[in-house]
């Protein structure tokens, strides 16, 4: 395909484009589990199934169509795998430039660095920290993903020894960082079955690094700081050399060079997604660890910078990150932002209103309410579930607005809440008349007692306080 023929963007692709190339066996064979080829084509377009699920298509007879489909569906940014077997991670595979166009694939893995000159216990501690990082966010566990091993000694023996030790300690995918091909060769020799990412080929060492990437079948990063022509030329060269799995590092400049960083990332991704430039269609590596190159700056300030630079790079097309900070306050906002960025943009902001039942509530169980803003609801749901409380939760339709905003905007009022209470039918399910309202809706309590005739208990401002609140206030003390 020439560069001029820009292939259809993922959004312009219709199920019909796929359908045309499917086997269309009559009567439908149903081997993919769908009713017919059109239904299958629709799922393919939505990236819910891979075309390989159509087993007839894989027969020799349909080879031409299969190849065409592969090409049609190939992401603008190549998907590259780091690691082997169950411990592998897919990088890139981006179909679109902007989040609102289509769900982003392959959330940006975060790698934490160790070096071959760190004391062994420090290396082990950092690896353990990465493996142990866990945060429970709306029912999902957020993790860190990889270890980047840097050779600061430039000594092949030392590098190999650290790489081996790390590989023996953890199953996490690895990035081997050294610009010295001799050190890389020795280290790779001991862990190539783990398919680590090689960092990096430059304008000076590219031939040797390319040989290593080929010999050991490992993905290779191209490093051309602030020189996209060099980066593109290196890609051109290495593709012709036979290296297929490439990764780009156009340089991460964190201070006054930040505009170049963001612009380089953006230009690469735009040329790939909107211009069909296949030479630039590779994942981008962000290296916020470079903030640490600045000397005589307090540690907290560098951690601070690294945290926000990482978040910006993720917003601007970075497919993998190498960081140094291990502080929770640095990594938490980034793992959450990553989770958020990679959610389905077409998912509604609101959840269905109505009565939700948790556990096995009886006629004496607490009744609470919240709004139908998805994030509010999921947070409350996750807090109730993790506390194991049996209760009723009325989800009031506020048009997908949070408690605080809907009270301020007069969407959540005593009337709308009373109406939701009535419709929920909870009156028949419990024999008490106590309603727990969100702390952020406290101002409605007086009015609500009047409109509903129920006793109002003002609950915590944050749903994390629900278990403690119930412990102190439930069952309610008799009116005295």
């Amino acid at each position: 395909m020439t560069e001029r023929e820009i292939k259809k963007g993922i959004r312009e692709l219709s199920p019909l484009d796929i359908y045309k190339l499917l086997p269309k066996i009559t009567p439908p064979c149903g081997e993919c589990g769908e009713k017919n080829c059109m239904a299958f084509a629709t799922k393919v377009i939505n990236r819910e199934v891979a075309i390989e699920e159509c087993s007839p298509l894989l027969k020799e007879k349909y080879k031409g169509d299969y190849e065409k489909l592969k090409k049609l569906l190939a992401p603008a940014v190549k998907e590259v795998t780091i690691g082997a077997g169950d411990n592998s991670i897919k990088i890139g595979g981006k179909l679109v430039m902007y989040r609102h166009e289509f769900t982003y694939h392959n959330p940006t893995p975060i790698a934490i660095d160790v070096t071959d000159e760190m004391p062994e216990n420090e290396v082990m501690e950092r690896v353990k920290m990465v493996e142990g990082f866990k945060y429970n966010y709306i029912g999902r566990t957020l993790n860190l993903d990889m270890i980047a091993i840097r050779s600061t000694s430039n000594d092949p023996v030392k590098f190999k020894s650290t790489v081996k030790k790390v590989a023996e300690t953890t199953r996490l995918p690895l990035i081997l960082c050294s610009l010295n091909p001799d050190a890389m060769e020795v280290a790779l020799g001991s862990v190539y079955e783990r398919r680590p990412l090689i960092y990096a080929a430059t304008k000076d060492n590219w031939r040797k690094m390319a040989e290593l990437a080929l010999a050991y079948n490992c993905p290779l990063t191209l490093f051309a700081p602030n020189d996209l022509s060099l980066l593109r030329s290196l890609a051109n060269t290495l593709i012709k050399y036979g290296v297929k799995d490439l990764m780009f590092d156009p340089g991460t400049f964190c201070e006054d060079g930040l505009s170049e960083t963001i612009n380089n990332f953006t230009m690469i991704r735009r040329n790939a997604c909107k211009g069909g430039d296949t030479l630039l269609g590779f994942p981008i590596l962000g290296v916020p660890i470079t903030v640490w190159l600045e000397k005589d700056v307090p540690k907290e300030l560098l951690q601070w910078r690294e945290a926000y630079i990482a978040s910006m790079l993720m917003s601007r097309y970075c497919d993998i990150l190498i960081m140094h900070s291990t502080e929770g306050w640095v990594l938490l906002p980034n793992t959450i932002w990553r989770f958020n960025l990679y959610t389905d943009p077409s998912k509604p902001v609101s959840v269905e209103a109505g009565l939700k039942i948790f556990g096995k509530p009886d006629e004496n169980s607490p009744v609470m309410f919240t709004t139908n803003y998805a994030l509010t609801y999921f947070t409350v749901e996750s807090d109730i579930k993790s506390s194991g409380v049996d209760c009723y939760l009325i989800v009031v339709d506020t048009g997908g607005i949070s408690v605080e905003s809907s009270v301020a905007g007069r969407i959540l009022t005593a009337e709308t809440a009373a109406d939701a209470l009535k419709k929920s039918g909870v009156e028949e399910k419990v024999k008490h008349r106590y309603l727990i309202i969100p702390g952020l809706a406290a101002r409605l309590s007086g009015e609500m007692e009047e409109t509903t005739g129920w006793h109002i208990l003002v609950g915590p401002r944050d749903s994390s306080g629900i278990p403690a609140f119930l412990k102190d206030n439930w069952p309610p003390k008799e009116e005295g």
Binding site: Y216, N236, T237, D256, I262, S311, S464
Partner: protein, 414 residues
Amino acid sequence: MKNKKGNKNENEDASIKIGPKLLELLSKLGEIELEDVEIDAGELEIWIPALSTVIPPPAVAPTVTKAIPEKPTEILRAEFKPLVQTYPGRITEVKLGAKRSEGGSRSRTLTIGGETSPAFYLFEEVPPNPPVVSVDVFDTEISLPRALRTYVQDVIGDPAAWAKIAVDKFEADAVTVHLLSTDPLIKNSSPTDAAKTIERVLQAVDVPIIVGGCGDPKKDAEVFRKVAEVSEGERVMLSSLTLDMAEAKILGNVAQAAKKHGHVVLAFTSMELNRAKELNRRLYEFLPRESIVMDLTTAALGYGLEYSFSIYERARLAAIMGDLELQHPTLSGSTNAWAAREAWMKMGPEWEPRELRGPMWETVTALALLLAGVDVFMMMHPAAIRTIKEVIKNLTSLGKAKSEDIADWVSIRL
């Protein structure tokens, strides 16, 4: 059967040289293919590249690399040319604040908007008016997380003194005075009292002022009309005008007051571009385009920031692509980040100190929206404010990156 067996043997041989992955790949192929189609090894080879995009490609044995015709011996140049677009649309420029010569009393004014490309695409356009920060000030006692309270403890309840700190210490480009005390459910202060507060703040600082209401559409309308009158000519921004006001048939009154006294309005909608357009259409009946800024709603990091991010990004792209009803600068209430429990809650030693976690929450929230195209940020924590101002400075000029600075990051001892 004979064929099947033959292939299997080959697989085993190959596995010695090229590792288990190819074996796995071939065995998978075997399952699919060998049921009803007879193929020979020649065909098998042809099939490998096609499948190799599904499964990681096999390790390449030396014999296979030889098959590649010629390896380049020098870098094959392939110059980079950025994909530069031109767009039919432009964000309207809006001026906040007015100097004496313009009928106000500000010594500093701000111009926002004017962009003709996506945010910070410097390869297309250097932003004509860099985004600005307006610092939040409240006119009454308010519950604040400790990390925020520390910095303003002494001035809570004194909005003029608070505004002064915001400008002198936090380097605010503008100040937002939230007239919370006017809330009928809080103090129900009168529009006249609210107007006095605004007058005092206007005297205390020389930057543009944003006037925040309490969220009750009827009360806000009364307060805004009074404030508009007493701050005649100052070009304050009234925050905010809503479709609820339109429903209560009071939007026109407020918009007319803004026009009569020379002010700007903030059109607030909650994450729905069609509603934003509808509100703007209603405002066009009363106000020039140069007097309208949009607030599309900011949800905190972890609590819907991604929705805000996509809405602001879509708004900017639609605007420059020619949607006239969205060609307005945008504002984000990034202080909303503090609604996230992770911003203020005590969470266990591995997540501390929250004195850093909190302002980082505000920073990450604001920076996501900066990249999406927001022009004005309402913020509170001094560290977050300083960071976003620094980032804006760093993002608006090119030519500062020195490749030698980072060329050797791999081997640097930290």
